[in-house]
Each structure stands twice: as C-alpha cells, then as structure tokens.
C-alpha cells in the first residue's frame, strides 16, 4: 500500500492541493466566488455567516473557516473580507498562516469596491495558483490520515449493511495508527450508552453523555416531537420509525474501536484513534465540521441516495440499498447492497471501500468531485442579531 500526498509545513498531510478562497463574511462571498471561478485550482467557500453573530456563535464560524484553511488538502489561502463584519479578516488570515502555508488577505472596502477587489484578488490568486501547482506528492503514511464518518438519507439498510462496512474501514484505519471522526450527536440519541461503554476514560464517557443530553434538551425546548426532523420524512419512508432506531444503526459507522475523545464542532483532534465530534445530524454542516477538524477524506453512507460533496475534501458515497445503487449510480461510489442480497459479507464490502479510499487518497476523483459537488454549511448555535 503506497500512499502519496502533500507534506505541509506543520507536519499535516494533504491528499488534495486546492487554493482556497475564504470570504470572512457573507458580504464577501460573491467576490470570493468570482475570483475562484477565474483561477485554476481555486475553490471558494460560499460562506453565509461572519457578521452580526453573538460571540460563542461567531467563535464557531471563525474556528470552522480557520480549520478549513489549515486543512492539509489546502496549498494556499486567500481570505476576502468586506471590512466592517464581526469576523476579523486579518485575524482569520493570521490564524491560518500559523500553519506555515501561504496566506494573504484582501478587504473590499479598502480595495475600493467589487471590481477593484476582484482585480487585486485575481492577481494574488493567479500567483498562488502557480505556486500551488509546483507542489508535488510525496510518500505519506496511513497513520497521518483523518477520516470523517458520515451518514445521510438513511434507511434501514444503512444500519444493516452500509454503516457496518464503513465501521470496518474505521476500525482498520485506527488499527493502522490513523484517526477517524464519528459525528452527528442527534443520531446518538438512544444509542449513546453503547458508545459510552467504549470510552477510554470516565471523562470521555461523561462528555459524550453530556453532549447528547444537551442536544436532546435543545430539541425538547421547541416543544414538539423530534420525529419529522429526526428521523426525516425520507428516513421514515425508508422504514426507520424512531430516532432510537436510526441512532442504533448510525453508530455502526464508528466501528468497534475504543472512543479516544469527544471533540467540539470543528475542533482538531490532539491524538489518534476514534473520536466523536459534536455536530448536528444535518449532513453538510456535519461534514464541514469534520473537515475543519482536519479530516482529509470523508466516507458517507446513504440509503436513500445523495449527491453530497465538500469543497475541501473528497467524499466517497456508499449505499446499502441495492435499488438506490441502481437508481443513483452516477452519485454513489460503492454498492454495499450486495450485503442485503446475500452476495457479499460486511468484511468483503469493507475491503472494497478501503481499496477505494486508498485510490482516492492517491488522487483518484470521487463521483462527487468529478461532478464538482461542493456543498458547504457551518453549524450555528443561534440566530443572528
């Protein structure tokens, strides 16, 4: 198993080499997008936040944007700010540059407006694009990989076939010295006691149970039945009746390894092994959080079928539903429906996903990448003010 990736200045490795254009607020998103559109290798984050947010919520947005900039898959970063937003553009650029990579920033109000900012930004981005293009893949080790574990559009095949296969891959990566991140706190409701038993310490178990309790209480404060948002109408059509049933199937994607730690949304793990990140069950926000936390690659199981990708990391899609694979083959990379049909075992499909993951690490595009799917969303603690 030979792996090749990009060695970054701070020891982090990347498996892609994007030039990332980050708007520090929604007001700079159009300019950022227009610059990315015209420069080879550039990708812009369609940020919807960054202003009029209360401090703890703004901190989450800052940490997420900074984490995405620092992700190993990014070769250089251009931050674009409007100039008067809550999120400090210069501070964001400075935080990302602590990773040692090439970072510059630009403020629209100082540049003289849209056209002037675009012109200046294009000149910077053109130079960065050429600089990034000179970087070459070098040998890396599997232990340097952080894998994000996601499921979305689940049905009952997710818990029976796709998630256990994903769990097999997570276990194999952790045994090889790597890191995997389980996510979606909402989808632990009803299954948290099982995961808590695998915690490496009482502290980890207590933190895990606390984040699930807080998530459930937040939902309860709305005064309605969680059903309808969790499980979603699509989950229900697929046979899932309650959040407990969905959660018990979801946790299979975390495999069987001990739970080494619990991370805040977008927090970068300090050690190796299986971690749980406190993210919502909303797939896009969950993936964004894990990738901001350093995940260079994401495995995504889906029973109903979803086209989801990510602007920063490749997303490999797996379905346990044979009908969904036939119907949405253009979006789904791996068919785990063969488990339901009795044609393959969980281990066989797990090995197939592992091989695909190695190929993708080495540069093969996933279907979501080939179709330029770059869904993006940052989790918010509360409304804007």
């Amino acid at each position: 198993m030979r792996l090749k990736g990009y060695l970054r200045e701070n020891g982090v490795v990347g498996i892609r080499n994007h030039l990332l254009i980050i708007p520090s607020s929604v007001c700079a998103s159009t300019v950022a997008w227009r610059i990315a559109e015209q420069v080879e290798g550039a990708v812009a984050l369609p940020n919807q936040h960054g202003c009029a947010q209360i401090k703890p919520d703004l901190d989450v947005t800052f940490r997420t944007l900074a984490g995405l900039g620092k992700n190993g898959n990014i070769g250089a970063v251009l931050v674009i700010g409007l100039g008067c937003e809550s999120l400090d553009t210069e501070a964001l650029a400075r935080d990302i540059s602590s990773s040692g990579k090439d970072v510059e920033y630009l403020v629209i109000q100082k540049a003289g407006g849209t056209l002037s900012a675009q012109e200046k930004g294009l000149k910077i981005a053109r130079k960065m694009s050429q600089h990034v293009s000179r970087m070459e893949r070098e040998p890396i080790d599997i232990s340097q990989i952080i894998l994000g574990l996601e499921c979305g559009g689940s049905d009952t095949t997710s818990g029976l076939a796709a998630n256990p296969s994903q769990g097999y891959v997570s276990d194999k990566l952790v045994r090889s010295g790597g890191t995997s991140i389980l996510s979606e706190t909402t989808e632990l409701i009803g299954a948290e006691h099982i995961l808590a038993e695998r915690a490496i310490s009482d502290e980890v178990a207590t933190t895990l149970l606390r984040i699930v309790r807080e998530c459930e209480n937040k939902a309860k404060r709305m005064g309605v039945d969680l059903r309808g948002s969790q499980p979603t109408p699509g989950n229900i059509t697929g046979g899932l009746s309650t959040i407990e049933e969905k959660s018990l199937g979801c946790i299979y994607k975390g495999g069987t390894m001990p739970l080494a730690g619990v991370l805040e949304y977008s927090e970068i793990p300090s050690g190796k092994g299986l971690h749980m990140m406190d993210t919502p069950g909303q797939d896009i926000e969950s993936i964004t959080g894990m990738v901001a936390g350093g995940a260079q690659i994401v495995l995504f199981t889906t029973g109903r079928g979803t086209p989801t990708g990510c602007p920063v990391a490749p997303v490999i899609k797996i379905t346990g539903n044979p009908g969904t694979f036939t119907l949405m083959e253009e979006n789904i990379d791996i068919n785990a429906g063969t488990i339901i049909q009795g044609l393959e075992s969980i281990e066989q499909v797990g090995e197939k996903i592992w091989d695909e993951m190695i190929d993708v690490i080495n540069g093969r595009l996933t279907k979501a990448e080939a179709l330029r799917h770059g869904e993006f969303g940052i989790y918010k603690l509360t409304s804007t003010f």
Partner: protein, 98 residues
C-alpha cells in the same frame, strides 16, 4: 442474508424485511424457530412484528429499545410510525425546559 427477513438480535420482537413481503405470505426461518404469516404488506426495509405486542410494550431491535407500541400489534403486522412512537426528544410531552 439469504432469508427474506433479518432478526438482528435474539431479544428483538421485530424483524426487517429484505424484500417486499406480501399479505398472506408465510415465512419460516427454521434455525430461529420462526414461523410467521404476514397479515399485511411489509415494504422492503420495513419492520414486521415477530410476536403479539401489547399497547405500551417496548419495541426491540438490535437488542435495544427503539420505541413503544401506541396500540396493540398482532403478530405479522407492519410496525412503523402508525403504531410505535419514540421515547426520546419528545418536547411535545414535556413542559417548558427553558
């Protein structure tokens, strides 16, 4: 999974259909001592009751509680949101938590 349905844990009182199961169809899983007659249509991926389940009884899948019966469920029935409910995240059942 050659069987038309799967029982994940011996403690379970529901099984999951691995193909559409039809009303009147009899299914036998000899190694689990199961003989089941479908009293209604069970779509692919949906659950069927393996035994009579009383109103208020716990529904077991994966050997764990996935909810509670909201009505009496005869053996061989479609088990879903019309006859079971969640015990978690029920803001509708609790008072003001703020």
């Amino acid at each position: 999974m050659k069987n038309p349905l799967i029982i994940i844990d011996p403690r379970d009182n529901v099984a999951t259909a691995l193909r559409d199961l039809h009303k009147g169809e009899d299914i036998e899983i000899p190694d689990m001592g199961i003989l089941l007659s479908m009293i209604e249509e069970i779509p692919f991926g949906h659950k069927v009751s393996l035994q009579e389940i009383g109103k208020g009884d716990m529904i077991m899948k994966y050997g764990e509680i996935i909810g509670q019966a909201t009505s009496y469920i005869p053996k061989g029935s479609h088990v879903h949101i019309h006859n079971i409910e969640s015990l978690r995240g029920r803001g509708d059942l609790e008072g003001d938590l703020s």
